[in-house]
């Protein structure tokens, strides 16, 4: 038989003014199951709380109802008080007499009756409350960072400096990401390599960071604090321990005709290669698709030349499993290719290049060693046209959003071109200039005023090649829409920033949702920009949306802070308001019939299959099971379940039904 204590609060005048608290307390004494019912001016005050604690001990209460303000306000307060008195906190409920009754109704009998009703509702609920204990989940204090660009490096460094182990996984042979391809960065024109390389080295040498380059995530299981990640370490065909990075194999490799991905196809590289001179780790990789040995079985020059015998042609991919507590997604972005532009010749014209290719042309470590040479015939372009918003803000190209960074890097490109070719003519076709960052607009003004870059406000309708030159047909909307035709030697398209290839498959492996453009979806655009809906997985950088370097670094530190907070405790405690699928003795084992209609209703993929096997191993039933680590307690599964096999602790069917039956 339940022994419930009801404590009605006056809340000063807030409740007492319109609700006759004494009468309510008196009436509540007659409710079956109530053994103690008092009212007091301030229940949330210390004397108020101690009244509850004493009553629990004195009357041996099995349930407490505090009739005061909204549970969203003081539920934690009263539950702690109840816990201090030795009663399970989840046996305490609050009736909302203030916000839902006294403050919103006139002073009359109906209001006092309503207050009594609200208390009886909670008394009936408490009779069905069961003691609950916070869910304790151990936390593996090691983080996994996917993506070795500036976002991944920054996040890894911050987590490592917070004293936790980090595994930094990068798909390509070296960390550095797109930033390592840039020549100089806006708005300060810092040389990208100079500010990035130290961070890459710091990451490589940090005792808490394990670097896994030329590796990808194969599979992820588990949940927050208890992920099991399987990483595929692709075979480099080079033994990293023996290799000293001397580069002899690279110089001696006869096959040097392979388009260099790092130089965006403008330069050539050998079959055994290191992406770029400052690569970290500076260990080469054999490109099996183009290496002569793998195609015809002959050559092996690199093996002969290697002073330490580090070449391993028979090396196989290796699968490594890691226990990690949190994951930071920093997989970056890609740039739309020029062959997506039919109006500009479907990528036929060699001298129509994209932003990254221009970066390589302008970069000292690029294929032209920083000298402006156009890809078709290597001549120095006298006139260069930069086309902003190529693909971005264009629904027909499927990219209605603004890529945010192109206005700035286009101004930078024009400036770099003019610095290298003072007499050259630079035109920029733009719609609007978006330069909202610190010192950003001043940077663009400098390009226009000091470096004489001609900004034409209008779109380019068509580019076609004529007598070795590119005819750029556009319009100048500030001059009454006058058609403009420029004979250019080279055209740079500031193409749209898009989600990395394979981001959809990666999101599905991690059960992270993504937006229609395959950028990863943040939990809340304003309040939780670095978290995802999957507990324990965080976001950093352009994999979430187009982003420049300052914001990426800030977000990476934000994600690292979240991880550090998670790792600050040995155990993760979570509200026990989660779903549970009932279990019964044999032969039924559960009311669940294994139809799994609940599984697709769960936004957190918290429902798994559990196989019930007999002693001899034969499969008897497959039942649904809730992973308490992932379940957030929304209850959508409960109202989907036909056999009422699944229920939410704290808002169970019996509790809600009991509440409804008192009305």
């Amino acid at each position: 038989m339940s022994r419930i204590g009801v404590f009605t609060c006056h809340c000063g005048e807030n409740i007492g003014a319109t609700v006759d608290c004494a009468k309510v307390a008196e009436r509540t004494r007659n409710v079956p199951g109530v053994v103690h019912s008092v009212d007091y001016k301030y229940m949330c005050s210390d004397p108020g709380q101690s009244m509850i604690k004493e009553a629990i001990k004195e009357h041996g209460l099995t349930g407490v109802v505090v009739a005061a303000c909204s549970p969203r306000m003081h539920e934690p307060t009263f539950r702690n008080a109840v816990e201090e008195a030795g009663l399970n906190p989840y046996l305490c409920e609050m009736a909302n007499l203030r916000e839902h009754c006294s403050w919103v109704h006139e002073k009359n009998d109906a209001t006092t009756d309503k207050a009594a009703d609200l208390i009886r509702v909670m008394v009936e609920k408490v009779k069905h409350n069961t003691p609950l204990h916070p869910i304790r989940v151990p936390v593996t204090k090691r983080a996994l960072v996917l993506g070795g660009g500036i976002a991944g490096i920054q996040a890894a460094l911050d987590i490592a400096n917070a004293g936790h182990k980090v595994v930094l996984v990068e798909k390509s042979p070296s960390i550095g990401g797109h930033m390592s391809q840039l020549s100089e960065t806006f708005p300060t024109l810092d040389c990208s390599q100079c500010i990035l390389t130290p961070r890459m080295v710091e990451a490589a040498r940090h005792p808490n960071i394990t670097l896994m380059t030329y590796a990808e995530l194969e599979k992820l299981e588990g949940f927050i604090g208890n992920f099991k990640a399987t990483i595929r370490r692709k075979a480099r065909q080079v033994d990293e321990k023996l290799c000293t990075g001397c580069g002899l194999c690279i110089t001696k490799c006869p096959n040097k005709k392979i388009p260099d991905e790092f130089n965006e196809g403008l330069g050539k590289r050998s079959a055994i290669y290191v992406p770029f001179p400052q690569a970290v780790p500076n260990k080469p990789v054999i490109d099996k698709t183009n290496c002569t040995f793998y195609k015809s079985g002959k050559c092996k020059v690199c093996e002969k030349m290697c002073p330490t015998g580090a070449i391993r042609f028979d090396q196989q991919d290796e699968l490594v499993t890691l226990d990690v507590g949190a994951i930071v997604l920093a997989t970056g972005f890609k740039v739309m290719r020029t062959d997506k532009f039919p109006e500009y010749g479907y990528g036929k014209y060699a001298d129509v290049i994209d932003g990254l290719q221009f970066e390589r042309l302008a970069s000292a470590s690029g294929p032209t060693l920083g000298v402006m040479k156009r890809p078709s015939d290597g001549k120095e372009p006298e006139t260069v046209v930069f086309v902003a918003c190529s693909g971005s803000r264009d629904r027909a190209k499927g990219v209605p959003y603004c890529s945010k960074i192109c206005c700035m890097y286009t101004a930078k490109h024009a400036m770099l071109y003019k610095h290298k070719m003072h007499h050259g003519k630079a035109y920029v076709f733009y719609m609007d200039i978006r330069s909202g960052g610190k010192d950003y607009d001043e940077f663009v003004r400098r390009a226009i005023e000091e470096d004489d870059v001609k900004y034409i406000r209008g779109r380019v309708s068509r580019i076609y090649e004529e007598d070795g030159q590119l005819i750029v047909k556009g319009a100048d909307t500030l001059m009454g829409g006058e058609p403009v035709e420029i004979k250019a030697d080279m055209v740079v398209l500031a193409t749209a920033v898009q989600a990395q290839d394979g981001s959809e498959e990666l999101a599905q492996k991690l059960h992270v949702s993504y937006d229609p453009y395959h950028f990863f979806a943040e939990s809340h655009p304003k309040l939780k920009p670095v978290e995802t809906n999957t507990a324990g997985i965080y976001l950093a950088g352009a994999c979430q949306a187009p982003r420049d370097i300052p914001e990426t670094v800030a977000q990476a530190s934000g994600a690292a802070a979240k991880v550090a907070a998670l790792f600050s405790r040995d155990e993760l405690t979570r509200e026990p308001v989660v779903a549970v699928v009932n279990r019964l003795p044999a032969p039924t084992f559960s009311y669940c019939v294994g139809c799994f209609l609940c599984q697709s209703a769960c936004p957190y993929q918290a429902i798994e299959a559990e196989e019930i096997r007999g002693r001899d191993g034969t499969l008897i039933k497959t039942l649904a099971k809730v992973n308490a680590g992932l379940c957030q307690g929304c209850g959508t599964c409960v109202s989907t379940c036909r056999t009422k096999a699944i229920d939410i602790q704290g808002f169970s069917n019996e509790q809600i039904f009991a509440e409804l039956m008192t009305l």
């Binding site: 409710v31 079956p32 044999a586 032969p587």
Partner: protein, 333 residues
């Protein structure tokens, strides 16, 4: 001591008027969208024309599908109970078939076996039965195989047997006499006309079956027969002699009442224990229980059968579990 009379078709009106005049409700088979259902009637015209029998049995009049046994209310810390008074309206069951009429004695056997069921007895007391012999049968009928017949008088206060121009009225009981007395002019002298009653062949040797059932408990025949049974309660609820019931409270904080409702041994939860154990786990065990209860335990305990051979269960069954066919099969094999 049956005295026989001749009741002309035309004077049914006077009989009905007399009965309603005496404050009695008359229930009779009526036609509703091609179904024959027991409903209150006021004149012979309302009675169904050329019907076989009703879908649900007339046991409704004595053992309704839902009835209140008692009610209670909780005051300030106290509870007061109130017995329900059975709504025993004086009723005449007109036009039910001899098989159903003979069913009441099987109900009575259980309702008065130990404790006298106040509700059932009150309704039976207020009930009078004017049966009509059968001029039609179908393949589901097997009354003659269980001691009954199209002209059997068992359970009827007055049995009307169709004859040329009206009915042979056999007044069989005191209640019958009381009803006849209400409309003496309707009951003419019995000219001894020839009874027009349908022929119902005997389908199986019932005594032999009852004896053979004793050692057939573990026989595989019950599994074979019940494979198609879906385990619903249709056969039990239409059966004039099925008497099982469930008791349930419907209440809230202020009070409520206790209800008795029909129940069926065919259902999967009928013998489910709170522990999860179920002595009758499979449908075969439940089907066997239905047969044994009526053809083995009833004779053993009440020296009568728990079945009147009306065939309602066969007609109502979604998968045509023909009781007569299965009993015949069990009797021979």
């Amino acid at each position: 001591m049956a005295d026989n009379f001749f009741l002309p078709q035309a004077s049914l009106d006077t009989l009905f008027a007399a009965l309603t005049g005496d404050g009695r409700r008359i229930l009779a088979p009526t036609d509703r969208d091609g179904r024959t259902e027991l409903n209150p009637v006021t004149s012979p015209g309302d009675v169904a024309k050329d019907y076989l029998q009703t879908i649900l049995s007339a046991k409704e009049a004595a053992f309704p599908k839902v009835e209140r046994l008692m009610s209670f209310s909780t005051g300030a810390g106290s509870v007061d109970l109130k017995d329900a008074e059975p709504s025993a309206v004086p009723t005449v069951l007109f036009g039910i078939r001899p098989c159903e009429a003979s069913g009441f004695k099987a109900l009575d056997a259980v309702f008065n076996w130990d404790t006298r069921d106040r509700f059932f007895n009150a309704r039976m007391e207020a009930l009078a039965v004017i049966g009509i012999g059968c001029t039609r049968k179908d393949d589901a009928c097997f009354c003659t195989s269980v001691g009954g017949g199209p002209g059997s008088t068992s359970g009827s206060d007055i049995l009307l047997t169709p004859v040329e121009g009206g009915f042979l009225a056999e007044v069989l009981t005191e209640k019958g006499k009381a009803m006849a007395a209400l409309a003496p002019e309707a009951f003419k002298a019995d000219p001894g006309l020839e009874k027009k009653v349908v022929e119902v062949p005997v389908a199986f040797d019932q005594p032999g079956l009852t004896k053979r059932l004793k050692d057939r408990f573990e026989d595989g025949i019950w599994v074979e027969q019940s494979l198609r049974c879906v385990g619903c309660g249709a056969c039990a609820f239409v059966c004039p002699t099925c008497v099982c019931f469930d008791i349930v409270e419907e209440a809230d904080a202020k009070g409520g009442h206790r209800l008795r409702t029909w129940d069926s041994c065919g259902g999967h939860m009928f013998t489910l224990h709170a522990s999860g154990h179920n002595p009758r786990e499979t449908q075969a065990q439940r089907w066997r229980q239905r047969v044994y209860h009526k053809f083995s335990y009833y004779p053993e305990r009440y020296d009568m059968l728990g079945c009147v051979g009306c065939g309602k269960c066969t007609r109502a069954c979604p998968v045509d579990m023909n009781l007569q066919e299965h009993l015949a099969e069990a009797a021979q094999a």
